[in-house]
């Protein structure tokens, strides 16, 4: 039962095997600035410091052309931050983002501009990312016009095509975002992103706010667009069943680090990392009947002060002395299957 429909656009030996994006040692830190009282206390000699959140900590990841990579983890583990770095809208603190082998930080002028358009991001809440005072036609058509993808005379046809492709009636293009339902607004966000002809989409919880029946419509749209436009996706979601359905490969994060990655079927059949195992067992399944919910103990620690060694050790049923001091490296344990756990030796 392989993902035939998902993979038919990938031809072996063509550009399909080439990395489209590579992250090399990416870290992102945020400084939590002191408030007024904190600053005052510091001036008076109290031992308060600006705190640093390691939102993303030394992540290496390669995404090949045409792939759908699912990025999973609980809130605060750094998914959105990593997604923003990948989409080129947030510079990393350390590390390089390579776009088709070239460091995007080294690009200038027209090349840099083009690289920005190549990757687009679609957010969870379309309302907060759509300008409420702009008509849909301008939300969708403004950027392509600025970048010369359409002319003044071709504008109407261009916008109509974008809307139709996202499943919206072009007759509604003179309306404002608030006049649409949640599902339709997400379609507007998709039309806007695709209007600049990207190759790569970062979808950050793009269906999380939608009802199940609407979610299915939007997921189907993402899959159709993928094969029509030969798109590559980084699909961020906390919902494992959505990720399982859509992704070729899955990456699991915990407190800023990648702890496991593997082809989708492999990870759901043979999860290796104890965190992945407990995450999978905690996911409610519609097939379950009156089952006993058993789960991992404890809470997710604060990213301001993550546990040393393996971040998961305070909650891990297999934790050993070594786990408390040594960070486990992400190692290949089977072809294409990487895990960061000392149990693997």
């Amino acid at each position: 039962m392989s993902a035939t429909t998902m993979e038919h656009t990938r031809r072996p030996g063509t550009e399909a095997d080439q990395p489209i994006i590579e992250l090399v040692g990416i870290s992102k830190r945020f400084e939590k600035k002191l408030d007024f009282i904190g600053k005052l206390a510091q001036r008076l000699g109290a031992p308060v410091r600006e705190e640093i959140v390691h939102a993303v900590d030394n992540v290496n990841l390669t995404i090949r052309h045409g792939e759908v990579v699912g990025l999973v983890g609980e809130s605060g583990c750094g998914k959105s931050t990593l997604g923003r770095v990948v989409a080129g809208i947030m510079p990393p603190s350390d590390g390089q983002v390579l776009w088709r082998g070239r460091d995007i930080a080294s690009l200038h002028g027209a090349e840099a501009k083009e690289a920005k358009l190549r990757a687009q991001m679609i957010f969870q809440d379309p309302m907060s990312s759509l300008n409420p005072r702009m008509k849909v036609q301008d939300i969708v058509g403004e950027a392509p016009q600025v970048h010369g993808m359409t002319t003044r005379s071709g504008f109407n046809d261009y916008v109509d095509e974008q809307l139709r492709r996202a499943g919206l009636d072009p007759a509604l293009k003179k309306r404002y975002p608030h006049q649409f339902s949640g599902g339709q607004r997400q379609r507007i966000g998709i039309a806007r992103a695709l209007a600049v002809q990207p190759e790569f989409l970062v979808c950050d919880e793009s269906v999380a706010a939608l009802d199940v029946s609407i979610q299915a419509q939007i997921l189907n749209l993402f899959m159709r667009l993928r094969s029509e436009l030969n798109l590559t996706y980084l699909f961020i979601s906390h919902d494992l069943s959505v990720v399982e359905h859509l992704s070729d490969r899955v990456v699991i994060m915990y407190l800023g680090r990648v702890v496991e990655q593997a082809p989708s079927e492999e990870i759901f059949a043979r999860a290796n990392h104890p965190y992945t195992v407990s995450l999978l067992s905690a996911v409610p399944r519609i097939e379950a009947r009156k089952r006993a919910f058993t789960t991992v103990q404890g809470e997710i620690p604060s990213p301001l002060n993550p546990p040393p060694g393996c971040h998961f050790h305070p909650r891990c049923p297999h934790a050993m002395e070594r786990c408390r001091v040594e960070v486990p490296a992400l190692k290949e344990i089977a072809p294409g299957h990487l895990s960061a756990c000392h149990l693997n030796g």
Binding site: D211, Q217, L279
Partner: protein, 325 residues
């Protein structure tokens, strides 16, 4: 065995300037003693208003305009505000999606819990404190004494929800209405809370109405299921029967669109269109415009009928072939 709660054809309407919003307009279900009843439906289908109607928290411009809410045979819809206040938090409790609906941000947790006990029960302060400890223990808060001395904002979201559930448990209510209490929580924390709740229902005989938009949550938790669409219960029955052999086309479509019910990578089965506005509902079955089985007869009013023993559906062309099979 007598049911803890029986809701019969409940109707709660909001009289707004734009018109009458029939938020709840035909809700019926039964919750047995010690049973968990999952109330599911998409956003705006009337789940929260149903919960608020049962516990008497519907505010103007809303009003319960019809039906019966029988709690141990007594019709709550007929009680005075004072009589309802006596029941609320005592024999019937509610847990909200946002625990801060229950918690007072400016009071220490021990203060508000002890006050809650003393408000309904004549016990000493030390006995009240012991009750709080017991309740916190029941929701998996291990060393409650030090926890009790904190303010709500010092807790994580999951811990706040546990405290809110503990407060709901203080008077050992016969019925708890839980309105999406784990929706905002991470999946490992949700799992922990579901495990505690499951033990509770089994050990104390408390009946639960678990409101959620997520079929997967109630699949593992509930005994019975009632599915709402546009203010009406469209189907109910034992959870495994409803999920394995749904009769109503909406339930059928909803279950079909869950990703794990589809082959990986293939298009998800989807329900076309979207929920109609409650202000301008079509005549007859509200699912009409989205239904692949609809016929002209469906534009006349459709009753919720017991189609097979223990299972109701509001549909004139239900999926009976699969049920019979």
């Amino acid at each position: 065995m007598a049911a803890t709660l029986e809701v019969r054809n409940l109707q709660t309407h909001f009289f707004t300037r734009a018109g009458v919003v029939k938020a709840v307009d035909g809700v019926s279900f039964t919750v047995g003693r010690g049973k968990v009843m999952g109330l599911v439906g998409e956003s705006g289908s009337g789940k929260t208003v149903t919960g608020f109607s049962i516990i008497g928290l519907v505010d103007a411009p809303g009003r319960v305009v019809g039906g019966e809410i029988l709690f141990h045979g007594q019709n709550l819809a007929k009680l005075s505000e004072e009589e309802m206040r006596q029941l609320r938090g005592n024999r019937i409790a509610m847990i909200f999606q946002d625990p801060m609906m229950t918690l007072n941000p400016v009071l220490r947790v021990d203060t508000q819990m002890i006050e809650t006990v003393l408000a309904h029960t004549k016990v000493s302060k030390e006995e009240a404190r012991q009750r709080c400890r017991d309740a916190l223990g029941m929701v998996g808060i291990p060393s409650p004494d030090e926890r009790l001395k904190s303010y709500p904002h010092q807790f994580s979201g999951g811990m706040r929800q546990r405290v809110a559930i503990a407060i709901a448990l203080l008077h050992r209510p016969e019925l708890i209405i839980a309105d999406e209490p784990t929706t905002a929580l991470d999946v490992t924390i949700q799992g922990q809370i579901l495990a505690e709740v499951q033990k509770l229902a089994a050990n104390t005989g408390t009946s639960l109405i678990w409101i959620t938009h997520d079929l997967s949550v109630v699949a593992g938790l509930a005994d019975d299921l009632a599915v709402m669409y546009a203010g009406k219960v469209v189907e109910d029955g034992p959870v495994s029967e409803v999920l394995d052999k749904p009769m109503h086309p909406y339930t059928h479509g909803l279950i079909g669109s869950v990703p794990s019910r589809n082959r990986r990578g293939e298009p998800l089965r989807q329900i076309p269109g979207m929920t109609p506005s409650l202000l301008k509902l079509p005549p007859g079955c509200a699912f009409h415009s989205r239904c692949d089985r609809a016929t002209p007869e469906c534009t006349a009013p459709v009753e919720l009928l017991e189609l097979i023993p223990g299972r109701h559906a509001r549909c004139i062309h239900p999926h009976l072939e699969e049920v019979a099979a």
